[in-house]
Amino acid sequence: MNTAVEVRHLTVSYGEKPVLEDVSLAIPRGSFAAIVGPNGAGKTTLMKTMLGLVKPLAGEVSIPARGRRGAVGYVPQSESIDRDFPISAYEVALMGRYASLGWFRRPGKADKAAAEECLRRVGMEKFALRQIGELSGGQQQRVFLARALAQDAEIYFLDEPLKGVDAVSERAIISILRGLCAEGRTVVMVHHDLRTVRDYFDWVSIINLGVVASGAVEDVFCERNIDRAYSRRAAGAAV
């Protein structure tokens, strides 16, 4: 298997109690992969550890594409940003070019055109000069997606990009992500809606503290595995 991201024996903890325990999984290149699990299962933590934003207590992450700066794209949860920051949608999209420019080169004509083109791809070109705080949740998500697209990454990580998003935005986002996979890029996404897993994804990792199941959707996304992931939490809550 040609892997895009692999984690081995990952344990992460913020305090005394581990948030992730001995997580090992691999995601093949070119797949559209979902990370699912109940609230508090450690989905966001797993993603942040993969990205190197959270330091694991033990274990390792390998992303072969990481050699080039900007090869890893990330769309954070929209709540994580300051909505009152004085910045326009276009400026956010242009940030996607910074990684390939490095510290000293300024964005040129080509970079600006790329940022505009990416806003067009997500259907936000009319809002280019709007402040980020003046956009709805779904529109913000699309702007952050445009930033990731402008980065021209090989592997994309998205943390619940469909949370609080209207149906039109959801369809637009999914069709763009499918396009990325068709080009051979990998998309890894934290997802909360179990009903759409079969329709959208070809790979799924079901986690709850540890890995419950990870593999092709048709192989592992079954009632039994879902029950195991979601009832373990119920058992934990009862204690």
Binding site: K48, L51, G52, L53, R66, R68, R69, G70, A71, V72, G73, Y74, P76, S80, I81, D82, F85, P86, I87, S88, E91, V92, M95, Y98, A99, W103, F104, R106, P107, Q131, G133, E134, L135, S136, Q139, R147, Q151, F157, D166
Partner: protein, 371 residues
Amino acid sequence: MTAALGFMPRLATGPLIALMSDYTFRTVALGAALIGLMSGVVGCFSVLRREALLADGASHAALPGVVTAYLVTGSRDTAVLLAGAAVSSVLAAAATVLISRRTRIKFESALAVAMSVFFGLGLALISCAQHLPGASKAGLSRFIYGEASSMLMRDVLAAAVLVLVLTAFVCVFFRHFKLAAFDPEYAASAGLRSGAAGGALTAMTVAVTILGIQAVGAVLMSALLIAPAVAARQWTRSLAGMTALAAVFGAVSGVAGTAYSSLRDGVPTGPAIVVAASVIAGVSLLAAPGRGIAAKLVRRRRLRRRVLAATEINSDTRPQIAEAAEKAPPGVSSAERDIHTDGSAAPQEAGEDAGTSAPEDGGGEDNAGGA
């Protein structure tokens, strides 16, 4: 009355002109302007990164360093005293970080503890040092409330060099600072070391704070970082505009405060500068178009008048409206229902106003159509 008014300008402008032509004042005002300018620029990032409190800690914690530097070296040279200030600020910051990482105490509480302990220590040391021969001449107490007039041409030149270097630095790396302030996690994920940019911003905040304590004082220095940035945010929609405007506000506050304290004997420069900055911030919060409190009130009143007018026109169709309200979905609040059920005019006009602020998905607007 008129005689008094005619008399006033002469009273005020006479000394002011004399002041402007005074060499010492021009030197000192230039120094205060430079400090205000740099505080404005750096303060924008502190405010947006929610690090304003850190500047407060750094300035308060500088005091014992100033006194210790004097006690150890016996020097009254500003550079030596400020070096001591920097050391104790960094020590306080290290203590804060250590406490918040190793114990359950939160960062803000740790900062408050470190800040008050260091500041208290500084005050105690100053009163001890006052009893030493020659110490009162060293003018250590000027670091508490600030005394711009103690700035020599040499100090102003040093400040000018630092301001020039920092400004160039901010200009070259502006977009990286913007990214580090806006979304550091994204920057890190893309392989840009946002920690470096963030660290540089924090270091600049501390450097400007220390630079400012001679003129503004340890107690109030952080206000000069925060007030111009808060004021500038009200008038602009871009970070570049905010930074430039905050620089202007800071510089103006510096000059105005210095002028006021030179004209009124016994008013320390620090409070005067900070009052000037606060007046600018206050006016901006009240009167800025769009974001100001007055503008918001006016918008709300206008909307309310439209809604009321629409209700008036349709008052004879009340029974039908009540019926429509019954049918409205339970999620719509009664206030919203009133607007939407009052015929076609209200939703259109209300929509116009909503469009200028934030786009809301206007579901439920067509519920009234059936009535």
